[in-house]
């Protein structure tokens, strides 16, 4: 039973990590129907920024808490800024172009960002400081769950709630939903669609940055390539859950995390990814719009 619980919690953590990235994917997709391939890179840049900030601050001799807060803030701000800028450069000029062109542009951006960090920083793996402290009350359970895992799960839940709130109840959220439905109509109703798209990118990127920092701190190292696989997996999760839907992204991510965890635990990790993809293929064949997606006729 312990084993099951461990796998369950492991899957939950992994799923939460995917979710933090998948949320950004799904928001962007919901509004401009773009598979934002550069999203994984934003997450990577978030982690790098946090690492750089933390290193500099440690050098300056600040205390632990201040470092955590400032590094996380820096990561969020910079990732958001990158997300915003990328949208302005690589996607906005393509607003009316064929969708595949935008996709290629996104792939180009992803390549650019990866290599930008590779060249400006390093190709090596860099150790990442543990930002989340060991909580005393968790000590007895340390063989089952670690504080960083708990922290990741809670953060994901909170962020999902915040985003749902943002989209359901705020003015900008309503504008987002309107723009997602019909951009021309939204424009006629006086919604600044460009602003809405920018905000979507900013929010999505900030979420990814939080994910980046948490994961980096959880596994203790980063490199320029970390965003690619995580990005693909998160995208798969977003589609699985029904792309465009916020709870869908989280649900899809959790399902993917559990699938991988249980498959590894009970069968074999050799085919862990293969199984995850097979699962995705099956779900989409029987429910083409994902688990929580809107059904197309």
């Amino acid at each position: 039973m312990d084993y099951f619980l461990e796998l369950f919690l492991g899957g939950l953590t992994r799923g939460s990590i995917y979710a933090l990235i998948a949320l950004g994917y799904t928001m962007v997709y919901g509004i401009i129907q773009l598979i934002n391939f550069a999203h994984g890179e934003i997450y990577m840049i978030g982690a790098f920024t946090a690492l750089i900030a933390a290193s500099v601050l440690t050098f300056a001799g600040l205390n632990q808490l201040a470092i955590i807060v400032i590094a996380a803030l820096a990561a969020i701000i910079y990732s958001a800024a990158y997300g915003y800028t990328i949208e302005k450069i690589a996607y906005k000029p393509l607003r009316n172009a064929p969708r595949l062109s935008v996709l290629i542009s996104a792939i180009g951006m992803s390549l650019f960002l990866q290599n930008y960090v590779l060249l400006a920083q390093t190709s090596n793996f860099l150790p990442f400081p543990e930002l989340i402290p060991e909580f005393e009350f968790l000590k007895p359970y340390s063989h089952i769950i670690r504080p960083s895992e708990l922290f990741i799960c809670i953060t994901t839940a909170v962020i999902m709630l915040l985003l749902t709130f943002l989209i359901k109840f705020t003015k900008i959220g309503k504008a987002m939903r309107a723009a997602a439905q019909d951009k021309t109509m939204a424009m006629l109703l006086g919604i600044d669609v460009n602003l809405v798209i920018s905000v979507t990118f900013i929010v999505g990127s900030a979420t990814a940055a939080i994910g980046g920092v948490l994961i980096a701190s959880h596994i203790g190292q980063i490199n320029f390539y970390m965003g690619f696989i995580a990005g693909i997996k998160a995208f798969v999760a977003a589609v699985l859950g029904g792309i465009g839907s916020i709870p869908g992204a989280v649900l899809g991510s959790l399902i993917l995390g559990w699938t991988e965890s249980f498959f590894t635990g009970y069968i074999s990790s050799d085919y862990e990814d293969a199984f995850a993809f097979l699962f995705l293929v099956l779900i989409l064949i029987f429910r083409p719009s994902g688990i929580l997606g809107k059904k197309e006729y």
């Binding site: 129907q33 750089i52 450069i89 650019f112 060249l119 589609v239 085919y271 995705l280």
Partner: protein, 406 residues
């Protein structure tokens, strides 16, 4: 008047200053600070900030100029090119010499240029074939495919395994590889018949990864990540070819096969089946309502597209003489997709140009070594911004009727 101009100039400078400041801010942590958490060293590179500021100041002028120009000309840009090429094709006096010159050049190519260039050209031609194949699926029939590498891998492993176990020669493996590509295409096609757009894309992506993971993990079947070595190059009767001769020989095989591919696809396009494929892309419901069997035509599209991947795979194995799963990652699929989209969806010439650019460009960018992937990324983005429809847009066939003049 003059005040207007100077005002807009000042405005432009202002904008550029803001852009420069923004980029200086944006790139500050990554460009200026270099941390090495292994040894706890922090290096400050303030000079980079200056370069970025200056660079983005200048580039932002160019950027705005290009964007505004781009918006102005919008869609007419193809006009000149098209009328020009039409003129060439319509006048025999012009195009026959060009074809002859081209043919002479193609034949002379491996003898004029170095072995390296010939070798690269072989790679490019393999990608031309892959691009043309994927073009049937993506460009002509409108299905977004992200798992093309799976079929490519199927072809490559067909030859590698058949040769390894049964000593089957290249010339037998070539049609078998193509057939296996087609069969797998149809097998994949059945379950995904209902899927469209991004969902199809992600399913095919998953399929591509599954195939790669099987090749990686199933050692008894595929020899796992260590791959299969010593695959023979195509034999020419029983002659023993030196490396450079083998490359030249393969080059000519590739040229012939590419011409063959173009020939077949041209004929397909201009046929009942080809039209049905295009109709499927344009509107699935209307297509069905017009009496086209959606299932059949979709599977035909998949099979027609994946056949070339299977064939390209065999050629790839014969060229590198070694296969392992790392050649068939999702990047490979993305690359071929980029070729199709960059070249111009649905256009044969476009795909050929796309393949040439995307394969030759990184190759000749080797001079820039570590910068080449970043340049490649930038080129992709810029090409899409300034020519989102691809380099060559496809043109529909013109029919001429004598009755019209009556």
């Amino acid at each position: 008047m003059t005040t207007d101009i100077s005002a807009s100039k000042i405005d432009g400078i202002k904008k550029s200053v803001y852009t420069a400041l923004w980029f200086m801010f944006l790139t500050f942590p990554i460009m200026v600070i270099k941390v090495n958490t292994i040894d706890n060293i922090i290096i400050w590179r303030w000079e980079n900030m200056f370069f970025i500021g200056a660079g983005s100041f200048i580039l932002s002028f160019i950027w705005r100029y290009m964007i505004s120009k781009n918006e102005m000309k919008s869609e007419d840009s193809t006009g000149i090119l098209q009328t020009f090429s039409e003129k060439i094709t319509s006048e025999k006096k012009i195009y026959i010499p060009i074809i002859i010159a081209a043919a002479v050049f193609v034949i002379a190519f491996p003898f004029i240029f170095s072995m390296y260039n010939t070798n690269i050209m072989i790679t490019a031609l393999i990608y031309v074939m892959l691009g043309l194949g994927l073009n049937i699926v993506v460009g002509i029939s409108g299905h977004l495919f992200l798992g093309y590498a799976a079929f490519y891998a199927a072809g490559a492993y067909t030859y590698a395994l058949l040769n390894h176990h049964f000593d089957i020669s290249f010339w037998f493996a070539l049609p078998i590889g193509a057939a296996i590509g087609a069969v797998i295409g149809i097998l994949l096609g059945f379950p995904v018949l209902r899927l469209k757009g991004d969902y199809l894309a992600i399913v095919t992506l998953g399929f591509g990864e599954i195939v790669r993971l099987i090749l990686e993990n199933w050692n008894d079947f595929s020899f796992g990540p260590s791959g299969i070595a010593n695959i023979p190059r195509p034999p020419l009767f029983n002659l023993k070819l030196s490396l450079s001769e083998a490359i030249v020989y393969l080059y000519f095989i590739m040229v012939v096969l590419c011409i063959f591919t173009v020939f077949i696809i041209r004929r397909l396009e201009d046929s009942r089946i080809g039209r049905a494929l295009v109709a499927l892309r344009e509107d699935e419901t209307a297509c069905q309502a017009m009496g086209i069997d959606k299932t059949k035509i979709k599977l035909t599209a998949f099979a027609l597209g994946t056949t070339w991947a299977g064939m390209g795979g065999v050629l790839f194995a014969a060229k590198t003489t070694f296969v392992n799963p790392s050649s068939f990652t999702i990047w490979e699929s993305i690359m071929v997709l980029c070729i199709v989209v960059l070249g111009g969806m649905g256009s044969i010439v476009g795909v050929i140009i796309g393949a040439m650019i995307l394969i030759l460009l990184p190759e000749y960018l080797r001079a820039f070594s570590e910068y080449r992937m970043i340049i490649f990324g930038i080129v992709l983005v810029l090409m899409m911004i300034f020519r989102p429809g691809g380099i060559v847009t496809s043109v529909r066939k013109n029919y001429k009727f004598e009755l019209e003049s009556k």
